[in-house]
Symmetry: C2
Subunit: 404 residues, 2 copies
């Protein structure tokens, strides 16, 4: 018999009918003899409604108080699920973040879990209770309520699974697993039975839709097996696990894309020490996160500097760079919002050469120009013109043997 | 400068506009240099909606879990008020029941406050924070969330005022004070400037509408001055205070009535030891609360026993008594739902004789027959025919000099 942590997202607890289905699912696992901890999100839309309510008062609500307000969302769902389970004859108990002793730092709205003292949960499980824990929330050392930020319930679940040394953390969501690429874009996309933590982390742009990146980091750190699966069907989803020897595995596990970035080029920048620092310090001070950076040396002590920023920060970043360009004597600032980043990901790259070359060849064959390249140990990303995104994803998916 | 506890009920925090008005009222008191603790109820209707939601799952929801659910109501209002106050530039902090260390017993849904450790609130006040405390809720020794039952926020406020040794506990409500009688029934009803704890307790039927009886008991026990006033106007309301020498005071402070009871008579009951015990044990075992009891001895070892029960329990009580009557050999069981209880209340009765006589005379003059009488040290109640209620209240109000 196993100790299983299950997490259900907002769409899985959107109303009492859904909550009843969650209860039935929980009971099935419980009556099979397993210990079950259930982590819940707020009902779909509730967190957003509460944020809107606070914003009707002020654009900048007190972060501490906003967390107190938001914490009601999960408080509602865990009590309703417990009422449901008890009414069906099963011993259930809800625990809020502070009751489950999910201790975080004091960064309201984006708190990090520092510690989970799981003694109370362990004791309740030993009494054969089904423990329903409010996700997304914790408390700081002083007992203030904190929340973990968007999708924080995934992190709550994985962290609880780690603290309890659970056999598995099941993340129930509205998709049935992790795919080789976005199925809405590539009809040959295939559900993966298994994916490694590092791959999942690199698949941020795909993965974030099914599993919070911070939850994956946590899972990796504490080696928690995570099962991403659908709350609407019985079929198994995708296991996110530690890397292992696996001869049969393909070199590339997935193809991802992102249209959320824009590109800025400062051309003919004097190639002197301190210039790059000047450019990126200014932009960092504005709180804008730079993703890729490329520098091309020209003749005559000049250089071109190209980087990408989130599309939402693009107008601000352009304005800043125009000032910077003037002050450092750069010739132009050129911006481009119509770009996309296409990536191939796979731990197999660690032991297989030629993946990058193959990627470039495949794109070249379709006449897709590569504007920027960046690589990590298990990922190669190319920035291309936005209009080629779908084509690029499809041809790469096919070329790397991922098609269903 | 004073320490003031203010409590606002559900209609006073029904929406953001109302909450803004509460904030303005709090700020006025705060900027005058006072320390302010604000106790809030849930938005009007929210607690009922949550109860309904739970009852959509089951008729008998887990009491522990229902309390977790209900506690979200006040959590919402205290966080919203704190966001509002902070957005207006005032330092505010919300505390939930467990954060304010309102420790109760474990009677979920009707918990009693055992202790308030007010250290944290005192410290926050010393930092000149406005402290917004969630009413109605507390925690037991194990950290489970509890609620205090209907109107529990009044009790929270008075208990906090007692623990903090506040100068006054202001109860803001939708009426502007305590009246000599129900104004909707008697146009000459007058708002009282002052009423004593004991009178307020006896005025349950009037008082419960403006102030929870348990809160009054608490106030009396710890001698907390309570100011019942309207949240919609500035004018002062009614002070509920400790009894004092007050020569000018009228003997009677108020006239109350209740139509919530029904009368049951067992006639020709054998007058033997143990019979009354038999009758009232059966009814107590059914969880029915008996208010007045009268026994009239007849000739021939027979007696008539008359008592009143809540109208809602009347059908059940009649059924039970018919069985009992048969088994003890009583002749009839006669019921009457069309009765009312009219009472005159005043601590002045302790030192003035003749109040009862005057009451009976006044009623007799209107040809109102008195069916039952009960008295306490400061109250005289008569059961009369329901149709005479309004008339009785008006003539008594006039006769005891209460008319405006």
């Amino acid at each position: 018999m196993a100790l299983i942590v299950q997490k259900y997202g907002g769409t899985s607890v959107a109303n009492l009918d859904q909550i009843r289905k969650v209860a039935e699912r929980v009971i099935k696992v419980y009556t099979a003899g397993n210990d079950v901890v259930v982590v819940l999100s707020a009902m779909a839309g509730v967190t957003d409604s509460l944020i809107q309510l606070a914003h009707q008062i002020t654009n900048d609500p007190s972060r501490r108080e906003l967390d107190v307000l938001l914490a009601t969302g999960e408080q509602t769902t865990v009590s309703l699920l417990s009422i449901m389970l008890e009414s069906m004859g099963f011993p259930a108990i809800s625990l809020l973040g502070h009751q489950a002793e999910i201790v975080t730092n004091r960064a309201f709205g984006r708190a990090r879990i520092a510690e989970i003292r799981a003694d109370r949960i362990r004791e309740l499980l030993s009494q054969r209770k089904i423990v329903a824990v409010a996700g997304f929330q914790g408390r700081d050392q002083q007992g203030n309520i904190t929340t973990l930020g968007r999708g924080g319930s995934d992190t709550s679940a994985v962290a609880l699974a780690a603290a309890l040394k659970a056999d598995v953390c099941e993340i129930f969501t509205d998709v049935d697993g992790v795919y080789t690429t976005d199925p809405s874009l590539c009809k040959n996309a295939r559900k993966l039975d298994k994916i490694y933590y590092d791959e999942m982390l690199e698949m941020a742009s795909l993965g974030a839709k099914v599993l919070q990146i911070r939850a994956v980091e946590f899972a990796k750190k504490f080696n928690v097996p995570v099962h991403v699966r659908s709350s609407f069907i019985e079929e198994e989803g995708t296991m996110v696990v530690e890397e292992e020897e696996d001869m049969e595995r393909l070199v590339v596990s997935g193809v991802t894309y992102s249209k959320d970035e824009a590109r800025i080029t400062l051309s003919k920048v004097p190639d002197k020490p301190g210039i790059a620092s000047r450019i990126f310090t200014t932009i960092a001070e504005a709180g804008i996160i730079v993703d890729m950076i490329i520098q091309n040396t020209r003749k005559g002590g000049l250089t071109d500097l190209t980087f990408t920023v989130p599309k939402s920060d693009y107008p601000r970043a352009m304005a800043i760079q125009k000032d910077v360009a003037e002050s450092i004597g750069a010739e132009h600032v050129i911006g481009d919002e119509h770009i996309a980043k296409v990536s191939v990901i796979g731990v197999g790259m660690r032991s297989h050469s030629g993946v990058a070359a193959k990627m470039f060849t495949v794109l070249a064959k379709e006449n897709i120009n590569i504007m920027m390249i960046s690589t990590s140990e298990i990922k190669i990303s190319c920035v291309i013109e936005e209009k080629y995104t779908e084509l690029a994803v499809r041809v790469l998916h096919h070329a790397f043997g991922l098609d269903a």
